[in-house]
Symmetry: none
DNA sequence: GATGAATGAGCTTTCATTCAT
DNA sequence: TATGAATGAAAGCTCATTCAT
């Protein structure tokens, strides 16, 4: 008599494990976070873990995929009338806000060193491509409306926005960095990037 | 009768191991780079490895310490007359050039996830503190000469220079990033940071 | 849903490993008895070994603790009316009988050289203290009833009983020693110790 | 120009190493006493160690052989007129005196667990055989003169003298045992052994 | 589904021993 | 003779993963 699988319960379990994994990764690094530790934090047995995720790597991938999904949702969810340039700043603020959870910054740093794991690398590439595609599109729209400099391609500007946000995340992970206090400077720096005023006469 | 031990030979061996480790770490990540692999690359036996480094972690620490030393040498070696602002740009260029060795970028990314290892974390803190102290000093000097904005503390500007360089390194490690082509934009971005928001003439 | 964990099964596994370890230690000494060898004898994988004992040392400690427990049970289980002097002889006989298992004698000899291992040393001290405390108490009771000489303290007599039994064990381990044939002499020697009549040093 | 090998110097080196080894073995056990540690204590390089002893085991064997030699010298050096029974007590006193060096007791305990090493086992057997042969001869002479009981064979009495001395050594190694205070009791115990049980064994 | 005992490949590290100098 | 850098076999131990219950 197969118990009717409750998809909601399943999803909740997955989230519970993902959350525990996030905590463990941020606390001990990837290798240091054993599946046993994750299970302990999640309050489950190891068997349960592998019922929901085929491998340890796959949890990382799942976390990344969730991030990718959220990215897509973020850009998809903007009010249609919002000026593209504004969307970019909204995104930066959104990303900075995410980093207020210190586990997020820790996770990003940890995951950076995992490119040797094929599954993780793929998820990482996916995440990055999605983000850059979304940004590129918005940047291009902003360029069309002359809200953003046009001497650099939309792609390159998107890349540099990612660069700034990643550098920001790195500082958060390094510690001693006040996210809320520094966010305005991040926004400024993005503005400078988008405006491109260079030494010599400013814009 | 005791063979006169040759310290130069010792140092050479250490460098040889460090070099092999750098290659292995960049190629396979920290956990994936087994000591056996490092030894194979270095062309030595495992005993020799541990003759020179007490643990695998200690190699990472040694690499970081070498970087710290080089940082100190870089700032110590500037011609006395060089304008501080110029020193900052020299540093950025220098850092970008270092990243042309793709192993450097890989290593930086890998080492980011290793804060759970006490010895490595300590070396990492050391490196960061040294770099920021050096930068802070130069930034302060530049501020004294009005070469750099003064609405932000020297410390904070130093921090953001590090942020930019680290973000840059992250992009290099992510791949598909042309270091030499992007370096000018990095310099621009640092200039914009040092000059501050647009209203008013820059520099 | 959780399979009801069977503590009896766990205990049986532990005993199985302890038994294998006893065999291996007696056969090859401590260092010579690799965990791999113990596992082979026990018919288990190495993971199983470390699932039940955190370290190789801990097996030795567990064996000793089991001995301590048996000592306590032995003295606790004497019929209340038994004359103390008789209890002492019962103990000696019991100890000698234990040594009929050649692994026991081998183990005792092996463990003697392991005082440098903190965990083992602690278990060893514990075992010894327990035994001597039990013996001391019985000896004291025997002295109260005038069954045993009183010119030596109960503690010292207990110590010398241990000395005799250990010396006996040493001979067993050395080989070529017929336990059953020699046991009466051990009993005699203990009797001589307890009576202490000495004819003067020479003849 | 081969330096003329000075045999005295060679012997001195050997003794120096043996002494260091004795210290190390007593301090850390056999496995815990690395050749490196022995070399450090002896103040020599590892190469020198292996110039004088082909293996680590051979040092143990050499120590044992030295003991064997001393045993032989002891029995060979008795004044011809000494009554055999007196020789036995002299030996016991001599052995007890040796154990005043705590390293000796430690070494004996350590070496007991090394029967798995062929070379050591051989030396151990040799030592034991020599000792027992010497003792047996003296005991037999004492029996001839009616100084010692004759209801037990000389061989068996020799064995039990060894048993008592070994038990004594074990107590010394266990610690908290005052050699000089306990030596008289050892002598008593040997006397009781040699004279045999008096009528009325129990009580 | 959930569990945790069992597994064993694979890791880092140790250390007796060799040998060129 | 004396040295210590180099060696590599072998050890203890970890941990992701499997599977009977």
């Amino acid at each position: 008599m197969p118990r009717p699988i409750d998809p909601a319960r399943r999803r909740a379990r997955r989230l519970q494990i993902i959350d525990a994994a996030l905590t463990a990764f941020a606390r001990h690094g990837y290798a240091g976070a054993t599946t046993a530790e994750i299970c302990r934090i999640a309050g489950i047995g190891s068997g349960t873990f592998f019922h929901h995720f085929p491998t340890k790597d796959s949890v990382v991938a799942a976390i990344l995929e969730q991030g990718t999904r959220e990215t897509r949702e973020f850009f998809g969810g903007r009010a249609p009338g919002t000026p593209p340039r504004q969307v970019l700043f909204d995104f930066v603020g959104h990303a900075a806000a995410d980093l207020a959870d210190p586990r997020a910054a820790g996770f990003i740093t940890v995951v950076g060193g995992l490119t040797a794991r094929p599954e993780i690398a793929a998820a990482l590439r996916d995440d990055e491509n999605t983000l850059r595609a979304c940004l590129r599109e918005v940047v291009a729209a902003a360029q069309d409306r002359d809200e953003v400099r046009t001497d650099l391609t939309a792609d390159r500007l998107a890349l540099w926005i990612v660069l700034l946000v990643d550098g920001f995340a790195g500082r958060v992970a390094a510690g001693g960095f006040d996210v809320t206090a520094e966010t305005p400077l991040l926004v400024d720096q993005v503005a400078l990037l988008l405006d491109g005023s260079r030494p010599g006469p400013s814009q």
